[in-house]
């Protein structure tokens, strides 16, 4: 015991992190965490990536977590350091990303005194974390850190914050290894076998089934994605993915209908609308997916498989729910399916697929290309074609470019697509890419960006250069907040209120100023060249592609509309219909 008593709180913290398998911390020092940074200085087990803004530290940890399946780790100081993490924590909560965020705090004796750089961060982050802790006794420190990691990664993953007063990290105390901690937090992982048998019975009767897959399958891990692929191929069912679920099922497989929802494919949305059985695995009937709820898939039985009971019947009433981890449930589902030797109605399935192929033949992602001006879809198609052999990791910001990327990239594997889905955080992609590149130093990591989103966290170019993280920032520069402009055109009578930025930096010079490489493409003929050049450079790159400012993202389900009312393109007559507002629910 005697030697354990010699550890101070900061040492206990770092030992806990190492024992939890942490390799990288994204952080920013400050007064309240100086004792922790002092211990960091003395060791070399943990790598520290020094960001330029705390929000970026959280997004970087998110990128790290999403591309590895591990828990991301953040370390920031008290007060402003802590409050700057709020957007990132909310983003991680909405997209169920496992993080542990360690914040410094003023000494316990000063808490509540409005001390310098004091903020009630556990109070502030209570609604935007899965759970949070304030550690007041150094002897609880190790236990709390271990429990924080357990909570972050178990059940539906999410961000956990641990607030550490300065005196606690300076005090001497006892270390406890993870093996000695017994947590009371034990979410259900195994699905109820009776419910799974019932699911198989419902599936066997279906004539127009569809599998609707969300991020829960990716969060569950690569085993769940493999089992999902096995299940879909075994049954021959069409499979559509949410924005979060892209990569859970191979995008190039003919059974994949691509993404569904507001900017999803025609075939995915019409199949959702017309199905007679929907199997939702790890998705949450988000409003961007369902469109108008009372017209959502009106004639189907619905099965919902989810680890979070509060997702069941939240937005859409389902006929059968199975609570548990996707991998466990899929494994049992396949077992029961095989044991019962289920045969689907071949004739009905053929007719269903014929209908789907009819929708698919509309080629809804088609766009009018130009040989004068770069169409954003063209740029992304070329980016996909020229990089796919490298199996790149793609992050995005938020807006039109994000939706085009989701439409035109096909992800064959999970954990290669990092985008802010729930919160829709502009400025997410660059720091997230930073985290991805940290985890995969030799991989091709591309942040598909817009010029407006990029400027929300562009200070992180310095972090990329300092830590030699050769992230490629691929900016579709249309001089507008594109999605805002699109809605203003389609819904607000073309009044482009504050969506045009008259002044932008010269992104090529900006890259140069940071010590990165800047490239520009102004005509369609330049696109292939800049992509090849970008890939050849072993440094951070900003690519400034001057794209068509008037291009809109289609297909689109207008706000308040249903899946079968989607607009295919600018020439589609149904554009003239006004968007509606549902009773008591403003559609944004």
């Amino acid at each position: 015991m005697a030697h354990q008593d010699t550890l101070n709180g900061a040492e206990i913290l770092l030992k806990s992190l190492v024992d939890q398998g942490v390799e990288v911390i994204f952080g920013y020092p400050g007064g309240a965490v100086l004792p922790i940074y002092d211990e960091l200085f003395k060791q070399n087990r943990l790598r520290h990536i020094l960001v330029r803004h705390e929000q970026a530290a959280v997004h970087a940890a998110e990128g790290y977590a999403r591309s590895t399946g591990k828990v991301g780790c953040v370390l920031v100081t008290s007060g402003p350091g802590a409050t700057n993490t709020v957007t990132g924590l909310t983003d991680a909560l909405m997209d169920s990303i496992p993080l542990v965020c360690i914040t410094g705090q003023v000494p316990t004796s000063l808490i509540g005194n409005d001390a310098f750089q004091e903020a009630d961060i556990t109070g502030i982050t209570r609604p935007c974390t899965k759970h949070n802790y304030l550690v007041k006794d150094v002897n609880n420190l190790a236990k709390t850190i271990h429990e924080a990691f357990h909570v972050a990664r178990s059940g539906r993953p999410g961000p956990v914050l641990v607030d550490l007063p300065k005196d606690v990290v300076q005090a001497k105390g006892e270390y406890q290894p993870p093996s000695r901690i017994k947590s009371k937090y034990k979410p259900q992982v195994k699905g109820d076998l009776k419910a799974i048998e019932q699911a198989v019975e419902m599936i066997a009767k279906a004539k127009r089934p569809i599998v609707y897959v969300g991020g829960g399958v990716i969060n569950s891990g690569s085993a769940a994605c493999q089992l999902l692929t096995q299940f879909v191929r075994m049954t021959g069912f069409p499979c559509t993915q949410t924005l979060m679920g892209l990569g859970a099922f191979p995008g190039s497989d003919p059974l994949s209908l691509g993404m569904l929802g507001m900017h999803g494919t025609y075939e995915a949305n019409l199949a959702m609308h017309g199905c007679d059985l929907m199997i939702n695995i790890g998705a949450r009937f988000d409003d961007r997916v369902t469109g108008r709820v009372n017209a959502f898939s009106p004639n189907s039985k619905k099965i919902h498989i989810d680890i979070d009971p509060s997702s069941i019947n939240k937005n859409v009433l389902v006929d059968l729910s199975v609570i548990g981890d996707a991998a466990h449930i899929l494994e049992d589902l396949i077992k029961v399916w095989k044991a019962r030797q289920v045969r689907m109605d071949d004739k009905a399935m053929k007719a269903w697929w014929a209908e789907i192929e009819g929708w698919r033949s509309r080629n809804c992602l088609h766009f009018e290309n130009s040989n004068k001006i770069i169409k954003p879809q063209y740029a992304l198609q070329r980016l996909y074609e020229l990089t796919k052999h490298k199996n790149p990791y793609i992050t995005t910001e938020v807006g039109q470019h994000q939706m085009w990327a989701a439409q035109h990239f096909k992800f064959e594997q999970p954990n290669h697509w990092m985008t802010s889905g729930g919160l829709g955080t502009m400025g997410y992609g660059l720091p997230a890419a930073m985290g991805v590149q940290t985890a995969h130093p030799d991989a091709l990591v591309i942040d598909i960006s817009g010029e407006s989103s990029f400027q929300m966290n562009l200070q992180e170019m310095a972090t990329l250069c300092q830590h030699r993280l050769p992230v490629k920032v691929f900016i579709l520069n249309n001089q507008y907040m594109g999605m805002v402009r699109q809605w203003q055109e389609l819904i607000h009578g073309g009044r482009y209120s504050e969506s045009h930025m008259h002044t932008h930096p010269d992104f090529v010079k900006l890259a140069d100023a940071f010590g990165a490489v800047g490239l520009r493409a102004e005509s369609p003929g330049d696109v292939d060249d800049v992509i090849k050049e970008m890939m050849a450079v072993d440094r951070p790159v900003i690519v400034d592609l001057r794209t068509d400012a008037s291009e809109n993202c289609f297909p689109m389900i207008m706000p308040g509309m249903a899946h079968n009312e989607m607009v295919l393109g600018p020439e589609d007559r149904s554009l003239d219909r006004p968007g509606s507002e549902e009773d008591g629910m403003v559609l944004v």
Binding site: T122, G123, R126, P127, K130, H131, N132, L134, V151, R156, K184, Y185, R292, N294, D308, P309, S310, I312, N313, K314, L317, S580, E582, D583, G584
Partner: protein, 171 residues
Amino acid sequence: MTHIAEPIERHTIAVLVDNEAGVLARVIGLFSGRGYNIESLTVAEVDNREQLSRITIVTTGTKMIVEQIKNQLRRLVPVHKVSDLTIEGAHVSRELALVKVASVGEKRVEALRIADIFRANVIDATNESFVFEVVGATDKVDAFIKLMEPLGLVDVSRTGVVAIARGPAAL
């Protein structure tokens, strides 16, 4: 859109939680953040050794909303058990109120008489006031307070509802 008006139900929910800092704020924050109703909420430690507190919440909402409330409560890490007493068999519920009445003469006598009918105790008395302690189901307490209004009611303090299932089973 045509809404089928779902009936609003009142439910009494018992929640067993770790008695730790911030746990009540988590529960209340959940209700305010998601726009759920709280009609009454009581909390106190019930198990000193295990450091557990019991929260009794009376809430209203459609069936779907009440189901959401329970599931959202179960999601909170320090929450151990959530039990909907309204649907899980019979239960008893009680509320305690301290009711101050200031009056003289006939009104004072009438207040005492009504207190007697309601089996309310006088726990403080001066020449011009009484404090009554009344225990019962919410509607009984409501009725008592209503009757005191014309008799010089000046102040009320209520605990909110505590409830427990009938029969031998524990939460």
